[in-house]
């Protein structure tokens, strides 16, 4: 018991200021004036060189947003956001429409290097087997600064580019799919995003193509008082496969920064999309000052029969996380999966989970959620599983486990289970516990020190989810879990 | 008494039985042997009337009656009994209640009166003793927490109690040690009767040392590829199924 007490003390003493991605890149930026109005929306649209239809789309969203009220049902609390005090556009002051990496500001290249994300293809190539290569789209504040391996992907027919480019170059695809999963008026933050989104990634994998490498976007918020509103759209056409990774960091700043992204996935017949996130936005300091407000709408539409969408997320950052990556299981026999590790420490608040909406026949879904709360944080799993009338033979299995480290934090589980079909079989299990003294004792009796023991037990606790991550990410995620719980984990 | 003609069955689009012909007369014991995936268990389920399987061709007649139109309970009332490979656990249903309900349901279906409870109790105790089924086991919920051997003994107890005219034993030897196998086989042999037939489905020959068959059939890929006397089982034990599978493939 004494050992455990000590662990708790150590966790309490954790300095979240250890956030190692907290540096600021010193470059000149071009900022939109603070505030939000039609002029700002036109400013963003013009900056992006968008066609008129896109501007109208944004304007429509903005008008709807003005009639909406910020949601309050999530288990998070924060001071009211003044949406007129934000910059809705920030870009490194350099040339527009970069053609090659040579044109990217060396400061920015250096930034990504520091973050461990090399953007020069030759650097990536050195010492990496071809099958392990990852193509990266790097988004810095409001713009995409570089996309690697574009040409090689193009050979396979895969389109991977900033969404601003896709709007210009592939308007038909964008018109067809943008807003088709998360409609303009879906929710407060998604609507705001629809009005002001600045950049993000666009992926189209054509029929029958298995994307030859992992695709990845790395988001970085640098500028002060900006909101980042990226928009990602991924389409896997019939029989296509793509695995996509997303990483994010931000500098340490005393003010809260807003991140309200929208991700839309569309899987047509027999297609599969794997979407993995390691979210490590700045969580704020040990006093709860600063940090990112992460209000994100992520949704996948299994539109075709036999399609599959799997979300895997490792959530360690942000002051507030409000995020429910969901699957609409529309196609018959489609499969949705959600694997999540959510770690909250310090003053972090997480309200995250998923929705599995079973519409088609023989659809199945699986939810594995592991929440770990430490410090004075609040960690809520909120998930909905529903079967509609026609969802014959729908299946869901949900396992939702929470681990508490210390007695000042909270772990909450809020499932909504709704079935309108007798042939649907839903199973839900949830547990909440702490690391048991017996487990600690057993490990220590085998020679592990206390930190190693906690690390071992926590790693065991999250193993089911870690296994779902692509190899490179799994290693990174494991390290990140260690850092997030530093003081209790080696 | 049992006549299976050109029986074809599939499940979820896969053909499992592809033309089975088999005739079983009263008093006979037929062994059906075959490698894993040959369709042995499917045959037992199809005979008992499990609804997951679609019969695409052929017929099953029993004592002159078409079985395919009958539900599982009606086939049971007609005298067919399947001893399950994996007896189902039913929490909340006491074994005793279950036995009584099943027996009386069958009696009613045959136009007989319910067996009065004291007589029923006496009957169960008698049969249970032979099979080494303890009164404590009978008080527990059906098959719940039973060991593998206990479950198989409980199946044979049901068989003894319900007195079917055709017994289908699906891999009754699986999961049994040698002592349990002996008890179960003795229970089965006691039920041998000139008016009762048995179909013994098994992967291994060892059960057939205890329950000696009159006929042995080899099932492969949903068809009976060879039939013979009990010596065929020994042949299989020595040479394995490879010969038959190869024949099929060729």
């Amino acid at each position: 018991m004494a050992a455990v007490q000590e662990t708790i003390d150590q966790v309490k003493a954790i300095d979240v200021d250890q956030y190692k991605y907290g540096f600021v890149t010193d470059i000149e930026s071009e900022l939109a004036p603070k505030g939000l109005n039609e002029d700002i929306i036109r400013f963003i649209s013009e900056k992006k060189g968008e066609p008129e239809w896109m501007f109208q789309w944004r304007l429509d969203a903005f008008k709807r947003w003005q009639t909406m009220i910020e949601p309050s049902w999530a288990r998070v609390s924060y001071p009211k956001i003044d949406f007129q005090e934000l910059h809705y556009y920030a870009a490194p002051k350099k040339k527009e429409g970069l053609k090659s990496l040579d044109e990217v500001d060396p400061e920015i290249l250096e930034t990504y290097k520091k973050l461990g994300i090399p953007l020069a293809e030759q650097e990536i190539l050195a010492g990496v087997a071809p099958e392990n290569r990852v193509a990266v789209d790097a988004v810095f504040d409001s713009v995409s600064v570089a996309t690697t391996f574009k040409e090689e992907l193009a050979k396979a027919g895969v389109i991977f580019c900033p969404i601003s480019e896709a709007i210009r170059d592939y308007p038909d695809l964008v018109k067809k799919y943008l807003g088709s999963v998360v409609p303009i008026s879906d929710n407060y933050y998604a609507t705001l995003n629809s009005a002001v989104f600045s950049d993000g990634s666009f992926v189209y994998v054509p029929e029958g193509v298995r994307c030859p490498m992992e695709l990845s976007t790395y988001f970085r918020i640098n500028e002060q008082n900006t909101g980042q509103f990226e928009r990602t759209l991924i389409i896997a056409d019939k029989g296509a496969y793509v695995s996509y990774l997303e990483g994010c960091t931000a500098p340490q700043r005393d003010e809260n920064q807003l991140h309200a992204a929208v991700v839309e996935l569309v899987a047509l017949d027999d297609a599969e999309i794997k979407y993995s996130t390691v979210q490590n936005w700045y969580p704020g300091d040990s006093e709860g000052k600063g940090g990112i407000y992460n209000f994100v709408t992520k949704r996948g539409d299994c539109r075709g029969k036999n399609s599959k969408i799997a979300w895997t997320q490792v959530e360690t950052g942000s002051a507030i996380t409000w995020k429910y990556p969901s699957c609409i299981l529309r196609g018959d026999n489609s499969v949705g999966e959600f694997y999540s590790i959510a770690i909250s420490n310090g003053h972090q608040q997480i309200d995250s989970g998923t929705k599995m909406i079973h519409l088609g026949k023989n659809t199945s879904s699986r939810i594995i959620s592991k929440g770990i709360s430490a410090g004075v944080s609040e960690n809520t799993y909120r998930g909905q599983v529903s079967a509609h009338r026609k969802a014959t033979n729908a299946r869901n299995f949900t396992q939702c486990d929470s681990l508490l480290i210390g007695d000042k934090c909270g772990a909450h589980t809020v499932p909504y289970i709704e079935s309108k079909n007798a042939t649907a079989v839903f199973e839900h299990e949830a547990t909440t516990s702490k690391i048991s003294d017996d487990q600690m004792f057993y490990c220590q009796a085998r020679g592990l020190d206390e930190e190693e023991a906690v690390a071992l037990i926590v790693n065991g606790f999250v193993r089911d989810v870690i296994q779902q991550l692509p190899m490179e990410f799994a290693v990174e995620a494991q390290k990140l879990i260690g850092i997030s719980l530093e003081g209790s984990v080696g | 008494m049992l006549e299976i003609k050109n029986l074809h069955a599939h499940v979820e689009g896969n053909d499992i039985l592809r033309g089975i012909d088999l005739t079983v007369k009263p008093g006979e014991i037929h062994a059906i042997m075959g490698p894993n995936g040959s369709g042995k268990s499917t045959l037992s389920y199809v005979l008992a009337g499990k609804e997951d399987y679609e019969i695409t061709e052929g017929s099953i007649t029993y004592n002159g009656k078409d079985m395919l139109d009958l539900g599982a309970d009606e086939r049971a009332a007609a005298g067919m009994f399947l001893a399950f490979q994996y007896p189902i656990e039913i929490p909340g249903v006491a074994t005793m209640t279950f036995l009584k309900t099943a027996l009386n349901a069958q009696r009613r279906a045959r136009g007989q009166e319910d067996l009065p409870t004291p007589e029923f109790m006496k009957l169960v105790k008698e049969k249970a003793k032979d099979l080494n089924v303890s009164p404590e086991m009978l008080r527990r919920p059906l098959n719940v927490g039973f060991s593998g051997g206990e479950k198989k003994r409980a199946e044979i107890l049901q068989m003894a109690l319900l007195e079917p005219s055709l017994c289908i034993l699906d891999e009754t030897d699986s999961g049994l040690d040698i002592d349990a196998l002996r008890i179960v086989s003795e229970g089965v042999n006691k039920l041998r009767d000139p008016n009762r037939a048995m179909i013994v489905i098994t992967h291994y020959q060892r059960l057939l040392n205890h329950i000696v068959p009159d006929h042995v059939h080899v099932l492969s890929r949903g068809k009976i590829v060879k039939s013979g006397g009990k010596e065929l089982a020994l042949e299989l034990e020595e040479n394995g199924y490879a010969d038959f599978i190869d024949e099929e493939a060729a």
């Binding site: 929470s402 709704e418 079935s419 649907a424 | 399947l82 007896p87 189902i88 309900t101 349901a105």
Partner: protein, 429 residues
Amino acid sequence: MNAEARVKETQAEASLIEQFSKLAKDQGGLAAETREKAFADFRSAGLPHRRVEEWHYTDLRAKMREAYAPAEGGRTPEVLPAPVDDGPVLRLFIVDGQYRADLGSSAMPEGVTVSSPREVEVKDSLFPSKDAVIDLNTAFCQGGVVVTVAPGTELTEAIEIVHLVTQPETASYSRNRIEIGAQASVLVIERFEGAASDAAYQTNAASEISVGDKARVNIIKLQDEAKAAQHLDSVSIKVGAEADVHHFTLNAGGDLSRTQMFVEFLGEEAKLGCRGISILGSKQHSDVTLFVDHAVPNCESRELYKSVIDEKARCVFQGKIVVRPDAQKTDGQMMVQSLLLSEEAEVNAKPELEIFADDVQCAHGSTTGDIDEDLLFYLRARGIPEADARKMLILAFLAEAVEETENDRVIALLESKVRALLGAEEYAE
């Protein structure tokens, strides 16, 4: 998900306002001021609707089309229902919302007192949170019963409280209080029934139950309202240290029913079992909402609710276990299981955990589905006709909830009730 401006009054709300204005507010043992306050609170929120999280699945604003006027007192039912079992019993009748001392057992044994509610009971309400239905109960309260069991009383008789409605198209509002002293041992059977089986009426009952230290209490609620009735029942239970409390709800009647329970642990080392069975058909809508507050350490709670839903019925279960920051060593296990028997049946379950203490063992689970086909096949393969096999499996499914009450009289009573509801009397052992 967004907040919404107050919409205009519904017909039922308008009727309630009208009825309250005409109400003789100085009767039923409650001060006019208490009623006025409660009604003002109700008026500001209106009938609860789906945007109110606790009422998300039971949209009372939509379901309560009409609010019937409070029933007149003084009617005597033609026939009083017989006791629910053969055991010794003390009978108390609440007719049309009012306690009727003249109808029940004439003498109470030592240690038991029975009276009508007084002002003080409602003023220091034991309900922990604001709720429009409880406010309505307070505003319109017509009477009810206060039962006290003195410390140390081991009662051999069950206390049976029978709620009866004699007049169709009326509403009854009763407020009841049961105080069980330390180390007492009691079985309470609460029944809700209508005089005519097809009468439409509304019941709004509220019960506040306090259980003293080391008391052992079994409370059985049998909700057998008429088919067209609307039943709203709010129950608060305060559990003393080392007490052992079992509560069981059997939901069978009513077109709309909601049982909302608020349980709080006041002392350590107490044990609570909240269980229930709902057997629903036609277009019934039945809601059990449970809030268990582990406010102190070292307590144990078990929640197990099972439902069998046929035809177009809809079953709602919401359960929330809260473990407060200092409630270490809490052991809370909640399970909710539903069988859907028809294509149009529906279930909504929301088993929640809200945990602020680290040294706890808490879990919840939920299963939803149809009768297991493999089990059905096994029974049929033994000659049991399908309809009987289904009944057996439904009984088996429900049995666990009944058996866990661990009280022979309660088990026998519930088993026979459940069998009767399912038309499966022949499966008695």
